[in-house]
Symmetry: C2
Subunit: 383 residues, 2 copies
């Protein structure tokens, strides 16, 4: 095995197929922990665990990449502790690729009294009220300690709605922070063996000219990948799709594109159709714990009385372990009695649904059949 | 396959080996859902689920029998619903033997305002305050609906401490209820295809003459198995062992003996040494959820700060999936952050420890080496 040439291929993104009628594309993304088939969905493991599931479950589900959160892990157990345990891979016992979110969103949404300054964000821990500063440089240090394959720049996730002036200032701050983060990342890379890929995040709220400028400036940094942030934060779905459609063409064709924190199954389909390669979202896991399961016909409420004596599986066409072994009646009983196994079986099923959805989209793109597949999926899926 | 002769062997208990120096014994217990190797431990699945684990986990752990609770399942989802789903085996998707506890203990400990009368116990549901009567006959009907292989008679679990007079009256009530339960069970058996084994429960608190009388009266009923109840309810450990030592010889040699709701690892060893064949207890599962793991050297507190950077497995000599894949540091992190995976991984490990403990005892008995094994185990295990 030629390690040097393997290294050289790290984070290379190969386009395998592009759909003729939509923006959808299928590719291969090389990382130090293996090659990922795109488009793909990342289960969210905020605190270095995808809630209720084991790493063996996630391997069996075919999860290619897990996401963890720099904000949470910085507070507990501490990024340096994770580094000493061999990074997230060693700490969690996960051998496939990982991505860490920078925690920008969580600093604003979870912590107390966050104050945004040019140097970074001052905030108080949501756990013990202790005071901290996240600067773009500090976040790079944390993400290097955590050691994920993909690391996200520290950004301000612009709230919605906001004025165009607020959005412009926020986007420009995000750009300055991206440049500072890249500088620190480049220094840190020289000290470590395993490379990490820093992704930039396009902000600009719902204003296409701001999005376009942010995308162009980030593209000039020649980063290995780009995310679209600040969507799925309360804006109407049609507006999200419009912004996505106008923003993606501004990004380099041969770099992976990541739509952060989105969304429902039809959002994933719309995202792939627009040309997105990477997704993450808490919806399949959080909704599972709230007793909502996804099927190709739409959502099933697992506490619904109509399930009480239903001997069939959650989805008769599903091949997951939950559907192979357990009835709707039993799942409902587990939720009615607040039993942990219910959370776990529903989470397993929902992630299987999401991951299988991505695999089907990839197959349809490669077979040149994505537009037809999309129409069929949307006709069957009742939101 | 000769079904009739298989049927005839149901609930036959074959003694395979008896230890020369203790009361320990190893056997085979035949049931409609397969043959069980004794002595054995039953994981507790009160609400038709062993908290946090799937039935596939329990199969992989080598659990031979699961226990469920008639009181809880009568209230939710209802015994008749379970019957229509194919009994507990069909409802849960569990193919191996099961046992249902009658709910006597839970009626007293969980429900509001329980009133004991000759006809049975009037109580209010701990869920919605609704009023119910559990009579010995009613409980048989519930346990027949649930369809476990082993069903327990409805008894009064005599509280500790109590006067000898209270204990005598309580024991005599338990005896009258056992005869009434047996009568109803015999009727119900004639209407159903798959046989169930009704076990009697010896009460009598800490008074050996009462225990002896209860055992003798139950033995006269020629039931397929006998339980010792009302121990491990607060009496000193030495007293529990004394009562066990004086009670077990009163029970038929060729029937399985079940020590209910006990206990810690050294209690299981003492029980086997005294001649017990069957155990159940919430300790391995409940303590796991309270961040306590069992190892052959004693208990490990999973929140202990000393584990924070410990890269080793919970128990280096353990072959379970938790120890194969996860470090003490990661387990501590999961408990510190209140993540569900921690509850699950600790439960899996603790049940592996308990089930493996039973398998080792059986092997030692068969190899004629139990007394030496017991001494070694107790020397290593620090309570």
């Amino acid at each position: 095995m030629n390690l040097r040439s393997d290294q050289a291929r790290n984070f290379v993104f190969e386009l395998v197929a592009q759909d003729a009628r939509t923006g959808a594309r299928a590719g291969l993304l090389h990382t130090p922990h293996g090659t990922i088939e795109t488009p793909f969905f990342m289960p969210v493991g905020t605190q270095a665990t995808v809630k209720t599931l084991s790493q063996q479950d996630l391997e069996a589900l075919g999860a290619q990449v897990l996401l963890a959160n720099a904000y949470h892990l910085y507070l507990r157990p501490g990024a340096e502790l994770v580094a000493r345990a061999g990074g997230l891979h060693g700490f969690m016992g996960w051998k496939r690729p990982m991505l860490t979110d920078s925690g920008g969103f969580q600093v604003f949404s979870l912590s107390g009294l966050a104050r945004i300054k040019e140097e970074g964000v001052y905030f108080q821990s949501h756990l013990d009220g202790s005071r901290h500063l996240f600067s773009p440089e500090k976040v790079m240090e944390i993400e290097h300690h955590l050691g994920a394959d993909f690391i996200m720049a520290f950004d301000e996730c612009t709230p919605y709605p906001c004025t165009e002036e607020y959005a412009r200032n926020s986007m420009e701050l995000t750009l300055r922070w991206a440049r500072r983060g890249l500088e620190r990342h480049t220094q840190l890379q020289q000290e470590q063996e395993v490379p990490q890929a820093l992704f930039g995040i396009v902000q600009g709220s719902v204003f296409p000219p701001l999005r376009a400028r942010c995308a162009a400036e980030l593209a000039a940094l020649d980063l290995p990948g780009y995310a679209v942030g600040g969507l799925g934060v309360g804006e109407p779905p049609a507006l999200m799709r419009e912004i996505l459609a106008s923003t993606l063409p501004q990004l380099p064709l041969h770099k992976p594109r990541y739509l952060m924190g989105v969304g429902l199954p039809h959002d994933l389909v719309a995202g792939v159709s627009a040309g997105v390669d990477m997704f993450d979202c808490v919806i399949p896991t959080r909704n599972a714990r709230n007793a909502t399961a996804f099927t190709r016909l739409g959502r099933v409420r697992l506490k619904n009385a109509s399930l009480a004596e239903d001997p069939g599986p959650l989805d008769p066409e599903c091949s997951c372990q939950t559907c192979a072994h357990y009835s709707r009646a039993y799942l409902r009983h587990l939720f009615q009695t607040k039993e942990i196994l219910g959370l776990r079986l529903a989470t397993y099923h929902n992630l299987h649904f999401y991951l299988e959805l991505m695999r089907r989209m990839r197959r349809a793109i490669i077979e040149g059949d994505f537009a037809r597949w999309q129409a069929e999926f949307l006709a069957a899926y009742q939101d």
